[in-house]
Subunit: 427 residues, 2 copies
């Protein structure tokens, strides 16, 4: 469509009238759609219901070493599950710990241990009152919330198509009070960016405080939407020549492979980091739920089984992403009032609208029955300084719902753009 | 048998010769028995294998509110599971949070949150450098280890038949740097003591720092060995008139009801404490494994089902406890060189031998193939000042193994007593 910037005031008024008419019509339809969170759909969850049928006769109760998984023991998790996560995370199995159901909980714990006990023999982070964490923006609200909870000042760094703006990161980490950053390096939340090998190299090479930690959240590491995934390098191989493997602590889970919140989570990293974590873990828990680990190992004998499962997820998710992208394109292409990501994996589409109007778009949508991720949530303290980013989570609604929801969203983006242009003209 | 204190040197020498002869004979038998930890036996775990057969068709995937347990959500856990734990813990269901698989992990987290954020608006515990925790001795090594890990100085208080020595506790908690204590108030580890109502009343009534917390570990709250359990009062009812409900934070799990380390854990307490925990939990995790909660709710529709299951556990455990107690009695009754508990529930028998000889007993047993809980482990820093306490965990070995193991243990107790008497005579 025509670029709004080239329109006359009259043309913009026409656009606004038309958008308002459509908005009112959609309001009458009584929409009730939630696109707030990256939750798998029931159809995706159905893919894993076979796991519920794993009786003692079918699955056994012992891991490959013969250990009875119904009893205490094996703090690191069962070997077959560690090996599986090793393949997912790009680590040897003995550098992986298979845990409970939540990788977010593991990340929280890791930061918490930094606070009270520090890393690599350095002082506890709590003793650095001016401690800071880097926030790559837009990013994941729960990451920011953990860092804030532990009293870190969040220093924003913008996302680029290759990952975080590394010039900015390199400058910021010169301050030894900067203790870490959260990264979702493959199919980032919400932009869907996969960090380039050069970004990984610069993350590994840069000079930081010795206890600086990159929380390497591999939330979407096997969550490709297409047969050809984004190329993604192994950060541990890249870090080895720099001797900075301890900088990266990796986390993953099967929440979006099997059941959300009822899968298996794992963490891993350098030998030294895993030993450090284990020395604390032995005080924290006797052992994690090995029966659920056994279930997962029974379903996935290796990475190929996981990839096969992910293809089935993709077959459900791809039409949903394509619907949102098609409607956005039909409605907004060329209008110059919105940009959006076209991710090749992950759970989100990131939409940037006219500066100063994202919150208004969110309100318009909400009033019409469409719930989006809280606008601003993708920024520290819930405040998007340019008020332009909207996170779209297309996984849960049906294709039909997504068609309507995205039409509504596009109409709201136009309404907000018209208002912004009117206000600008009035200045 | 005759009291060793009344024996002549010659009689003691005869005892020692006889014990040595039996020890050598047992050595030749090639014993290999582990009585170190309170692990359920395979027969006990078998009682829960039906849980593995709960397919989607049999169990469903929704909780009683219709929520799909395969997806994220319901931070507090599913209502039917919270209600079940409410009955177990003596709390209303809305004052209970059903969590993952480990109550130890919840206790660790709770202390950790005290460290970084404090309780009830008080300063984080980490800002009290001289912070202290009360250790009821003998006690549970993992409790002590958590407090030590977080830099608490442990102040020992002896156990009495009614619970901790409350005169000592009341005196110690006058110091505002004393921030809490771990309690296993029913069938304590290792003594099997159930705290009296008067002890509960004094715990509730005493003057403490406002952020003093009793970690109320209900590890064995339904784990009775006999039809008539120890009477055990509800601490929240007792604390209410004193307005000190916030002092007690309760924890429990099904580790010794269903599967050890693969059950469901829960925490609960006053409305205020539960709200405080939830305000932090929302940052820590999206939701716990609700599928495993659903499994447990499917198996146990209420406390009566739990009690029925515990009767079946008791039917397996009771003959084991009775074997140990019978052999101890046959071998050592009246000898004046050992005292032991006769618990009515829980997982342990506590044995006190001649002062200064417990470690030696442990070494003698170990050399003969019997592994006991590390002697000293029941005391802070692993040091039993009188070197007299030995924890016996009879749950895992068979009755036949327990018969032999306890004979060996008794022989070692005699050998150690003879050595001690010889050394005393030589002084």
């Amino acid at each position: 469509m025509q670029n709004f910037a080239d329109m006359t005031c009259e043309e913009i008024a026409e656009q606004e009238t038309e958008a308002r008419r459509r908005y009112d019509a959609l309001m009458k339809e009584g929409i009730s759609i939630n696109m707030a969170r990256g939750k798998p759909s029931p159809e995706q969850l159905d893919l894993s219901d076979g796991m519920l049928g794993l009786t003692r006769e079918r699955m056994g109760i012992r891991d490959e070493t013969g250990f009875d998984c119904r009893n205490y023991g094996e703090l690191r998790g069962i070997p077959e599950c560690r090996r599986l996560f090793g393949e997912i995370m790009g680590l040897p199995e003995d550098q992986v710990i298979a845990c409970g159901s939540s990788s977010l909980n593991l990340m929280y714990d890791y930061i918490s241990q930094g606070m009270t006990h520090g890393f690599g023999g350095e002082a506890p982070w709590m003793l650095t009152p001016e401690r800071k964490f880097i926030a790559v923006v837009p990013g994941y609200d729960r990451h920011f919330a953990i860092a804030q909870h532990f009293g870190f000042q969040l220093v924003s760094v913008p996302m680029t198509p290759d990952g975080p703006d590394m010039d900015a990161v390199e400058a910021i980490v010169r301050d030894p009070a900067v203790k870490g950053m959260f990264c979702v390096p493959k199919y980032s939340n919400p932009d869907g960016v996969t960090y380039s090998e050069e970004t990984l190299r610069r993350l590994a090479a840069m000079k930081t405080a010795p206890d600086f930690r990159v929380i390497w959240d591999l939330a979407y590491v096997v969550h490709d939407l297409f047969e050809t995934p984004d190329p993604f390098a192994n950060v541990y191989e890249i870090a080895a020549p720099f001797g900075t493997e301890d900088r990266f602590m990796a986390f993953a889970s099967t929440s979006k492979i099997t059941y959300a919140g009822a899968g298996v989570a794992a963490m891993g990293g350098s030998v030294k980091n895993v030993e450090e974590v284990l020395s604390r873990l032995t005080l924290q828990i006797i052992s994690y739920d090995k029966i659920n680990q056994l279930r997962h190992a029974a379903v996935f004998s290796g990475i190929d089984d996981v990839r096969e499962r992910m293809r089935r997820h993709a077959a459900i998710l791809r039409p949903k992403f394509e619907t949102v992208l098609r409607v956005l394109s039909e409605e907004l292409e060329g209008a110059g009032i919105a940009r959006w990501s076209a991710p090749r994996g992950g759970y989100f589409i990131s939409l940037d609208v006219t500066a100063g109007s994202a919150k208004y778009v969110g309100e318009l949508c909400k009033a019409c029955g469409l719930t989006l991720t809280g606008v601003g949530a993708t920024y520290p303290y819930g405040v998007d300084p340019s008020d332009s980013n909207i996170r779209i989570a297309p996984s849960c609604p049906s294709v039909e719902e997504l068609e309507r929801a995205t039409r509504l969203l596009a109409v709201c983006v136009k309404l907000a753009a018209c208002r912004a242009l009117r206000e600008k003209a009035a200045e």
